[in-house]
């Protein structure tokens, strides 16, 4: 079965881009969310194998979403997708339970590298 | 050869026609709602399957003396505008050579052809629906 992915970003544009990268590699995009709150809700519903998570979003940040998700699902595999200049937020997200991060603009290969690493973790 | 068809009808015993590619339907004459403060040749408006269509009294438009009451309405579409023309008898459909006499220009008529020794005027729809 294909690896299921939930994509979280407030910009439709970024969601599309990430989705395209992952779809090409055979991942199945099972859901998208535009806010942290939606992300938590969708995670509960879908329990995907992987989440890509933007940091700065309206209505609950990506970090709070990571915290919420990690509280209920400690093994959630979350990849932070960050813009430049969010260093301390990335650190905070990883402390909160995110497994890795990529920085916009990203190379597809880099995203895939991180994704593979995350998925291989126990 | 480039052929075209026209629908031929009468206005006070003279023959007129419209190119058939503009014609959507033909109905018997029907009552319409008067349009106040409009030009005299605007007969009224009707509801045709949800579309409001303006009827133009072709005799009044062409300034032909009116003795008979019109029997038919030809629904046309020109430049995306739908409208109806009230006419007397519908005679039928004729094939014409597209190029015949179309340079003939006189008011609302853009050409004519002859059939059985009768002259058939071809109406210029664009002028009919343009306010003058």
């Amino acid at each position: 079965m294909a690896t299921s992915v939930l994509i979280v970003d407030d910009a439709i544009f970024m969601r599309r881009m990430i989705a395209d990268i992952l779809k090409k590699e055979g991942f199945e995009i099972v859901g998208e969310a535009g806010t942290g709150a939606q992300a938590v809700e969708k995670y509960r519903d879908l329990q995907p194998d992987l989440v890509t998570m933007d940091i700065i979003m309206p209505d609950m940040s990506g970090i709070d979403a990571v915290k919420e998700i990690a509280k209920e699902f400690p093994n959630a595999k979350i990849l932070m997708v960050s813009a430049m200049g969010q260093q301390s937020l990335v650190v905070e997200a990883i402390q909160a339970g995110a497994k890795d991060f990529v920085v916009k603009p990203f190379q597809p290969s880099r995203v895939l590298e991180s994704v593979k690493r995350i998925l291989s973790m126990n | 050869m480039d052929l075209n068809q026209i629908i031929v009808f009468e206005l006070e015993n003279k023959l007129y026609s419209i190119e058939i590619n503009y014609v959507m339907d033909v109905y018997e004459y029907m009552e319409s709602i008067r349009v106040p403060n409009s030009e005299d040749y605007i007969e009224g408006i009707i509801n045709l399957r949800g579309n409001v269509i303006t009827l133009i009294n072709l005799k009044k438009r062409l300034k032909i003396d009116r003795n008979k009451k019109e029997k038919n309405v030809i629904i046309c579409e020109f430049n995306k505008e739908k409208f109806g023309l009230t006419v007397d008898e519908i005679i039928g459909i004729e094939n014409i050579d597209k190029t015949v006499n179309t340079d003939y220009d006189s008011g609302f008529v853009k050409g004519f052809i002859e059939r059985d020794n009768r002259e058939i005027m071809i109406i210029d729809l664009g002028r009919i629906i343009t306010k003058t």
Partner: protein, 628 residues
Amino acid sequence: MNTSKYEKLFISEAIDYIEQISDSILELEREPNNIESVNSIFRGLHTIKGMAASMGYGDITQIAHQLEDIIDLVKNGKIKLYKELIDILLKGNDYMEMLVQKKPVDPDILRSFRSVLKSIEAGSEKSIESKTSELVKTVTGNVLDIIFEDDVVLKAARAFVVMKAIQDTGYYNDCAPSYNDILEGKFEKNFKVELKDNAPIQDLIKQIKSIPEIKDVKHLAEKQIKNKIEDKSYDIDESGIKVKNDIRVSLDRLDNLQNFASELVIARGRLQQLAYGLQDNELINSLNNTSKIIANIQDEVMKIRMVPVWQVFDRYPRYIRDLSNNLKKNINFEIKGRSIELDRSLLNTLADPLLHLLKNSVDHGIELPEERLSANKSEQGTLILEAKRLKNAIMISVTDDGKGIDENRILIMAIKKGLVTEEQAKNMSKQEILNFITYSGFSTREKANDISGRGVGVDAVKNILKKIGGSFEIHSEYGKGTTFNLKVPLTLAIIKSLNIRVEKERYIIPLTHINETIDIPTTEIQNIMGREVFVLREDVIPIIRLSDLFNIDTNKEKAKYSLVIVNVEDNDFALLIDEFIEQTEIVVKSLKGILSDIKGLAGITILNDGMPSFIIDVPGIFEMAKVR
């Protein structure tokens, strides 16, 4: 990566963010302490930066990045807001918009703009280079040297991922430089980690190497390391929250939905008539239930289409601000009733007319500060754009406290243009004179200028309002100011109206214009100086017979009539008809082609029985009656 297929989405979304930023900058100008505006600007810039970077648009990315840095300084209180800074932020936003829309921007201008941004940043405390402190720390024993790639983007964050991975294994002992320094990115290309003696070195190396941006991991033994510190990292506070739970729907789709819903309403009416004609109770009952559902659908569709007026109003402050700066005018622009809702396409239709009226007020209405002072007015002029809810309509008004309209000049113009004779002019009311402005091609300015001379004129504004079933009025007091009132129906497509009859003809009057309706016996119609009037609560109200204006054949005087009292330009008049049929909701179809511009008609609708009927243009009727 090929990004061209994302371009359309990028542009439309980036423009949204740019508008949000522009709104927030202006908000910030009004309320310099509004932290939510700062956060909103910050979020917007940040998102654009990420998006532009992903598209490979360097210029946009850099401008967004620099603006973001400046906003960050504002946020942290390191820069105080001042007017020029607001201008610069707006300018930067403009450049981003131009670049997003692929409009040409002179690279030299862009370069110098960016150096301005840089100097602002440099002028603040923040840009003082983080001090480099010499620090020596040693690790010994089982040491891994972790070497980063040259182009690692977030070094500190990457380092943290590495550190966490090692700590999670339980073999971590110590590191060099210090843990804090590493997490702040204060190392060059590598740092060292000391592991416990029993650590499975090869496994760990493999695991760390799988982390992105790690170039190499080497096993060292007992070495000393010196590290210099460089680089600075900046942090961002967590930003505020703004809800955005919407989906995007194209206006075309909404229009389609609205049309279908409207047709459903008409079809329902026809079905009901049939059902009542058949007197089949079962049919009537089930139709009544269906009716309720249809009413709900119609209601919801209408609600979907309703948007608050600020969606258009908020575009103006920026414009007014620039325009008044250009014209050296000092104007306080206020918007009132921002949250009042209006049909979306209706609001869009009004966007240009309103802009024109606002321009008019800035350009011709409000005086220069020195002129105002010498006229004993406050130096700063006031321009108010206001939306108000009326009973069956919305009133939008543009009010300025400028110099007002000189009626005498208008009248002279009107006489000169032959619109009125000198004799007629003597008896004209102020309102009638002001109305000349709405005549096409009428302007008291000899030459059209750049600002209001182009595009829509006041006559066009009036025509647009006629088309949408509204009305347009001008009030002005010379020396004191001018108000333009735009009365618009709540929705464009479906309006509440009165269905009336004169002889055999039926017409529709939109409720927007109606004050009240009265039945009177013919004996109450009085004749004063050749004009028919009647007295309503001590007011003398002129009567206009619809049959006269529409040339409807009337047989003979009836014993009683109905009157529709309407109000146009502050004048009440009574439209005399035979009877009221019913109050209905109608779907407006516009008059097109050969039917356009017919006096006294504003549109067409199809009634419940399937017959088409004309909608009366009430202000137009008033004009017609005045001419007689």
